[in-house]
Structure formats: C-alpha cells, structure tokens
C-alpha cells in the first residue's frame, strides 16, 4: 500500500515548506529522537530545504548507539563459551566492545549468527537441541513485544536451550533524562513513529506537562516529517504545548494494548546504562521472575564490567544533541564507517554515519 495515498510529493512538499517558512520567524530547535527519522531526514535532504531558523538535532534513539561497550563485551564473553550459538540483529555485529566486536569474534571462530526476527533464533534452538542458542537482544518498544512473544513461545514449547541476553531500552525515561540534564536546548520533539505504534501517546505527556514543550508523533515519509515539523511550529504559533499524532494511519492514542500486555507479562523495567546519558531509572527491560531461567546473564554468569569510551570519541555528546558529528576530532579522519571508533559511526542509523554519508545537509544556509 502506498503509505500516502493520493498525495503528490512534488506538489505538496513545496507547499508545506512554504507554510513552515511562514511560521519560522523565530528560531526553533527540534530534536528527532529516532534514528530511523535521522536517516529519513538526511536521505530526503529535508535539512537543506528548511528555513534558516528551523534546526534539527538528532537524539538518543538509535538502539545500537546507546548500547554501552560493556554490554557488547558481555555478549562477546558469551559467544566465546563452548556450545553457544549467539544470535543477534545484524546492526550489532560491528559495534566495538573494549577490545573486539562480534564480527571479529565470528572471524575468530565463534558461532555468531545474524537473525532478522527473534523467531529465527527460536527456530535455531529447535534445530540445534544440543547447543545453547542465546539471543542478544537490543531494541526499543517497537521491538520488545516481538522479543517478548518469542520468549513466551520458547516457554510454551518447553525449549530448554533458548536464552535471552537483554539490552533493551525504553524511550520516554531517556527523554526525561535528556531534558532534566539541561545540557541541550530543545524547543520541541519529532517523536518516534514506530515506538509510538506500541506505546501510544500518553507516555510522552511528560514532555508537555513537566517541561512545557510540544511533541508530534511523526511518520517516516518526507511529507510526514515536513507535516510533523509544521505541526510543531503551529503549536508555538498558537501558544500551545501538547503531544499530537501526525502518523495517525499507524499510531493509535492507546498504542497496541495487546502487544503491551505481552511485553509487560515477560519484561519488567530496571535502571539501565545508556551510552552518553549514564544510568537512567526504569529505562531498561529484563525478564520477569517467571522467565528468569531463560536469562543468559544469570544462566552463564555474565557480570557487567564498565568500559571507558574510546579517547576523543564524542558519541556520548552527539547522542544528546550537545555536539554535532563534525565537532568530533575523530569524525571522518580516524573514525569512518569502514573503520569506526564510536557506535554512532557504526550503525547505519547513527548520526555520525548519516553525516558522513549525506554531508551536513544544511550547507548553504
């Protein structure tokens, strides 16, 4: 299905830009929280089309980027154990731990396999009953219900060789941490469309109620993003700060309650470390007690060890919108997509990778 039926981008984008221009008399700094938005914004060239006053900054919404190196190390430790198959999403393979990456470990002989769905890891466990299949799971609320459903299936099927190493995180506590930190000036949020498909609108009310800022849950087509930006500017024009839904063809006010029920039946929130943001209360997900037999960190006794960020790497500040990728001395010199130092250059959704691939996107302003 054409996600935007009947609409003609070539005709409508200039109109929306004109409307945005009319409301951009004062500067407005908008944060796109989600890495998928970052890529869509760079790819479509939206930055170069926006009027001078409207500035877009990227936030902490790339799951790979916010996973601390210590958690990569833990997965590597697990992958090195005899009899283990480590299954994971491809995005994680090249993220550097303290001294290696999953890709390097695989080249050295560890059995690490890329999956597209948690159900693939489940199938792997069924196909290899003699091995321990450990799914190293990163992701936000978009992905966690699917992981929860796979865990429920593993339990239902009585699979004794399926384990989960959870590095899952939830978005609203990170937004609160970012705003409470006060290190970056933000005038409004382009909120993640697909996280919101699951969680709905209510969890973002902290943005308007606690911090007096507007937010718009936005889709991923160029027209969606332009409309989201327009809706943010319109709120300012009308003196309102609320959380609105632009992406209503997919996002319901209440989210996906069925998916949330599965997520909450399997996982419980815990304090979690975020690269750049430190430890954020109740921002990570671990297995509930009834599922703790599947917890790889417990079953394989994997303690967490803190790892310092690589010297000179500004990923932590980039993830908070405090610095832009080109502000980092390593950017494009020692740190490139081929030979990345920080995770924001590894992930295709990282803002350093987007800047490297598409340029700053606002030249000529």
């Amino acid at each position: 299905m054409n996600p935007l039926p009947r609409h003609d981008e070539g005709k409508l984008a200039p109109l929306l830009l004109e409307k945005i221009g009319e409301l951009a008399d004062l500067p407005m700094r908008l944060m796109e929280v989600c890495g998928t938005h970052t890529v869509a914004i760079f790819r479509s060239g939206i930055r170069s089309l926006l009027p001078q006053g409207v500035e877009l900054i990227s936030g902490p919404g790339c799951p790979v980027c916010v996973t601390p190196a210590g958690e990569i190390d833990r997965a590597i430790t697990l992958a090195r154990r005899d009899g283990v198959i480590l299954a994971t999403f491809g995005d994680l393979m090249r993220v550097p731990g303290s001294s290696s990456s999953l890709q390097q470990e695989r080249a050295s002989g560890a059995d690490i396999r890329i999956v597209l769905s948690p159900l693939d890891a489940l199938q792997m466990a069924q196909d290899h009953p003699e091995r321990a299949v450990c799914f190293f799971a990163v992701g936000f609320e978009t992905t966690s219900p699917a992981i929860a459903a796979a865990v429920q299936e593993a339990k239902r099927k009585g699979l004794a060789n399926f384990y989960l190493l959870s590095s899952q995180r939830i978005i609203p506590p990170a937004i609160r941490a970012l705003l409470s930190g006060g290190r970056v000036k933000i005038d409004g949020f382009i909120l993640p469309g697909h996280v919101s498909v699951i969680i709905g609108r209510a969890p973002y009310l902290l943005i308007s109620e606690e911090f007096g800022l507007p937010g718009v849950i936005t889709g991923f087509e160029p027209l969606d993003i332009l409309e989201g930006i327009y809706m943010l500017l319109r709120q300012r024009e009308e003196g309102r700060t609320s959380i609105e839904i632009q992406y209503s063809r997919a996002v319901k006010e209440e989210g996906n309650q069925h998916a949330l029920a599965i997520l909450n039946a399997v996982f419980t929130p815990v304090d979690a470390r975020w690269r750049g943001l430190g430890t954020i209360p109740k921002s990570g997900l671990v297995l509930r007690e009834g599922f703790s037999a599947l917890d790889a960190a417990q079953a394989f006794d994997l303690p967490y060890e803190e790892v310092e960020d690589p010297p000179g790497c500004l990923c932590g500040e980039v993830l908070q919108g405090i610095h832009r990728p080109p502000d980092c001395a390593l950017f494009g010199t020692r740190c490139t997509p081929e030979d990345p130092i920080g995770p924001c250059m590894v992930s295709s959704e990282g803002s350093c990778a987007a800047y490297y691939k598409y340029g700053r996107g606002d030249e000529g302003k």
């Binding site: 790339c62 159900l119 990163v138 978009t142 992905t143 498909v197």
Partner: protein
C-alpha cells in the same frame, strides 16, 4: 532499527501465522501481536511480526491538512 514495512495479508495459515505481500514479495509474518488482523488488512511489519493494522481511512485523514493547503493554493492560483 525501528523500521516498519507496510504489507497486505493475503492468507492466514496456522498458529497465528500469515502470508503477507510486500509489493510483490511474500513473507511469513507472525500475528501474535495483532491477533485480530484479517485477510485483506494492511499492516505494519517489524522483525517478522505485524505490529499494527494500517488504517486506510486514517491514511487519507492524516493528510487532510495537505489537501486544504492544496485547495487553498489552487484557489489562489485560479484567482491570479
């Protein structure tokens, strides 16, 4: 990582599994997170799971604003 791909359900097989058509490419998708989906529905798919029904009416509604702009601009250009 939070990519969602729209597709249409062409068949529901067994045990909450569906065959979904993504502009000509067909894949098996789990309906565990959206058990009410029916054949013919459009849905958003993420890591092998349907995560929401896509509302065609809403899709049309969403960009009502754009239509208003378009009408306004057509009117002003016909006036000119």
């Amino acid at each position: 990582m939070c990519l969602g791909i729209p597709g249409q359900i062409v068949a529901i097989t067994e045990n909450q599994l569906a065959e979904v058509d993504f502009s000509g490419v067909r894949r098996e998708v789990s309906l565990m997170l959206c058990p009410d989906l029916k054949v013919g529905d459009y849905c958003l798919v993420h890591v092998g799971f349907a995560i929401q029904r896509l509302e065609e009416e809403e899709a049309l509604e969403t960009l009502k604003l754009l239509d208003e702009f378009l009408e306004a601009s057509d009117e002003s250009s016909s006036e000119a």
